[in-house]
């Protein structure tokens, strides 16, 4: 597309945001132009949501400045941002499910007559407003009676009506089907034609190429690139999202000639709604790495394997014997362990001690009536803390006081304590500092050498390459490629993730 002199509406310059010791954003620049859809991309933890929260006023930056139409502004809260013309629509619609569509559109600015709300006027205006978005619905019905797609459009209508300069769409399509996405995009294109500056956050690359004019890519809190999309293809974008700027280091030494043992677990045609059936075997002493973008279905695979989500079909064999895994307890009984992606939500009991966090899975496996006595607990905790080099002043301190890397090792220790034969790690290096990355990678390598079968999901390609005997690549909720031996190279993985150009691009 030829670009007439783009008019910047909202500009962020040199934004810095620090949480504790972690630099979530490091001198990031971002510009939203009028009449343009600007996509913001990045893996989890790249700083996308932090940047959005700063742009909308939910967070205040620790450095840098925001400019609206060239004037510096500082936003107290999202409401303040709305007043400046910056409206946001979130993935989970932030409207009132219990009120009518019309009231959701007009709450806070209802026309009144004699001090009483003029309902007829509100309904009429709401109908008129929504008709501009191609919606002809009963505006007096409760919002929750409509699909998420309709709710999204209502949310957009409200945001545009109230704000009207910048529209931030934060993963609006995550729970929409294909037709609904197209409907939403029609609305967004109309707004773009009206000169609104639109910021679009998603992890669906095809949607980015479908809708956006410009893309900014963040990685580890830094801006990697910001350029017009017509100069890029999918591979470029994936490379920028996942890759280091320098060439990847390959670690074939660790793996060359690694002898793998017998088949430990085999998944045959395992599937679930929204996830295509897959076959996978993992051997003793083997690490199978999983690469793929956020939303490609990698976490879903792990949850399915561990019985967190029930499967719709397929078979699981452990050491050649079929087993039934419908819940995590059965998975543990089959010798599985699972370190989930977000340890703060799914993994760590922050207020419990290091020792309690380590023994909890083992205790669950033993059952209520075989309580571990204190000496056993101390001994176990001590053994694993030493084996994994968990650095805590003592093992009775609450886990939440430990650093991210040490918390991750506590979870690892928890699962190692049940003596698993198959361990699933979902993003084991997420949110921990770079130095600890190497240590986790070393730990994974050592566990492999000890004969464990591991299934490791990671967005860090160089790490996947460093510890995997095989790499499975996922795209659009499907295992699309399996790389083995010498074929495991970051470039090959990037190619596989990007895949053939999506139809949106053809």
């Amino acid at each position: 597309m030829s670009e007439p002199a783009a008019r910047p509406v909202l500009e962020a310059r040199g934004i810095v945001k620090i949480f504790g010791q972690h630099r979530a954003l490091d001198t990031v620049d971002f510009t939203a132009n009028a009449g343009e859809v600007h996509a913001l991309l990045g893996e989890n933890g790249a700083g996308k949501s932090t940047l959005i929260k700063i742009l909308t006023g939910a967070y205040q930056p620790d450095g840098g400045e925001l400019l609206l139409d060239g004037q510096p502004i500082s936003l107290r809260d999202p409401l303040h941002g709305q007043g400046y013309g910056i409206g946001t629509v979130y993935q989970e619609v932030n409207l009132l499910p219990n009120r009518s569509v019309a009231e959701n559109l007009f709450l806070g600015r209802q026309p009144t007559r004699f001090g009483l709300v003029d309902r007829k006027k509100i309904d009429a205006q709401a109908r008129e407003l929504l008709s501009r978005y191609g919606l002809d619905i009963d505006v007096r019905a409760e919002l929750s009676e409509y699909s998420v797609a309709v709710q999204q459009i209502v949310a957009i209508a409200r945001a545009v009506e109230l704000s009207g300069k910048v529209l931030v769409l934060d993963e609006p399509t995550a729970s929409l089907d294909r037709n609904e996405v197209q409907r939403l995009f029609e609305v967004v294109r109309g707004l773009k034609a009206n000169g609104l500056a639109i910021i679009f956050i998603t992890h669906f690359l095809d949607q980015v190429f479908d809708l956006a004019d410009r893309v900014t890519i963040l990685r580890n809190g830094r801006k990697v690139a910001s350029q017009a999309l017509d100069t890029l293809n999918t591979t470029d974008v994936v490379r920028m999202m996942l890759g280091k700027d320098v060439a990847f280091e390959h670690h074939p030494t660790a793996l060359a000639g690694a002898t793998r043992g017998q088949v430990r677990v085999a998944f045959k045609g395992l599937n679930r709604k929204g996830l295509l059936p897959f076959d996978l075997t993992v051997h003793e002493g083997e690490v199978v790495g999983v690469a793929g973008l956020l939303g490609s279905g990698r976490t879903e695979v792990a949850r399915l394997m561990f019985g967190v989500d029930g499967s719709d079909g397929g078979q699981i064999l452990v050491d050649g014997q079929p087993v039934t895994i419908r819940n995590p307890a059965q998975a543990v009984a089959a010798g599985f362990g699972f370190c989930p992606e977000d340890r703060k939500i799914d993994g760590i009991f922050g207020d419990l001690s290091v020792r309690e966090n380590i023994i909890i899975a083992l205790q669950a496996k033993l059952g209520w009536f075989k309580a571990l006595n204190r000496e056993d607990q101390v001994e176990l905790a001590g053994r694993y803390a030493e084996a994994l080099d968990i650095r805590a002043a003592n093992h009775d301190m609450p886990v939440k006081l430990l650093s991210g890397g040490n918390q991750q090792k506590v979870i690892l220790a928890r699962w190692l304590a049940i003596d698993p034969t198959f361990l699933i790690l979902d993003e084991p290096t997420r949110g921990i500092d770079v130095g600890a990355h190497a240590e986790i990678v070393r730990t994974i390598n050592r566990l492999r050498e000890e004969g464990l079968a591991l299934f490791v999901i990671s967005s860090e390609l160089d790490e996947v390459v460093a510890y995997s005997n095989r790499v499975v690549v996922m795209r659009d909720r499907e295992m699309v490629a399996e790389l083995d031996g010498d074929a495991i190279a970051p470039d090959a993985i990037v190619q596989a993730i990007a895949g053939t150009p999506q139809e949106a691009r053809s």
Binding site: P78, N94, L96, N98, G115, Y146, S147
Partner: protein, 319 residues
Amino acid sequence: MNRSLRPLLATALIFLFAYLLAVLQHPNMLSTRVLGNFLTDNAFLGIAAVGMTFVILSGGIDLSVGAVIGFTTVLVAVLIMWLNLHPILAFAIALIVATAFGAIMGAAIHYLRVPSFIVTLAGMFLARGGASVLSPDSIGIEHPFFTAVQKSYILLPGGGRLTVVGIIMLVVFAVAILLAHRTRFGSNVYALGGSETSAALMGVPVARTTISIYALSGFLAGLAGVVFSLYTSAGYSLNALGVELDAIAAVVIGGTLLTGGYGFVAGTFIGVMLQGLVQTYIVFDGTLSSWWTKIVVGVLLFMFIVLQRLVFRAGPRRT
């Protein structure tokens, strides 16, 4: 049909059905006399339940209501009998105190981020204890104004009497219906009950609304106390014990969702009347223990909670 109307409709049908059954057994119950007594006997409960409706709609709960009623009756009695104030002045002071008490609880709930359950539980002990400190014994109120008010009524066709306290309750309900359904304040109350985060993002003044809601509940509890003192001509610290629970029951039976966001003030009226109906039936029957009221209320409450669960569990129905 708006699905939050369904529990209301169910309540109305149950009330009509129950009234029909009662009348079939005791034809005398179909008279304006009984109706007038209904309103008079349940006035204080109805007024307090209106305040409770707003609180529950916003997603909170107010356990202090009964205690505030008790406290108000004692305060009114003390002001009139010991300090010789005119009842109207005593009422005004009592209402201001009750409103301020509610506002302070609202502020504590909002600013200290303490659940309303806990704050109003503390308020309940404070008000009940405060009443006992003022006077541990019952104080009889004798004043010409009281006698005059108690003797005033509008004669209904059929010999029923619409008393002053009955009229006060009806006016409170009428104003509350307008306030809940036709004002911005009402919209904000429902918004808080729907989702406080969304409401704040949509520009609802959360602090002001929360404080107003509990101030309103305090004011209406105070008014219920005034009505109670007119009804019984006495102030006693143990008056209206557990009325907050009757009020909550009336609100829920009236079709308001206990978790907030859905419901109608008019439903609360039917909820109160339904409780009154059960009591009246027991009086007419003459052989039943008055505790049957509690049992019937308990059964109704359980039914409505199940009903709401069924109605509100359904997901989106249109696309």
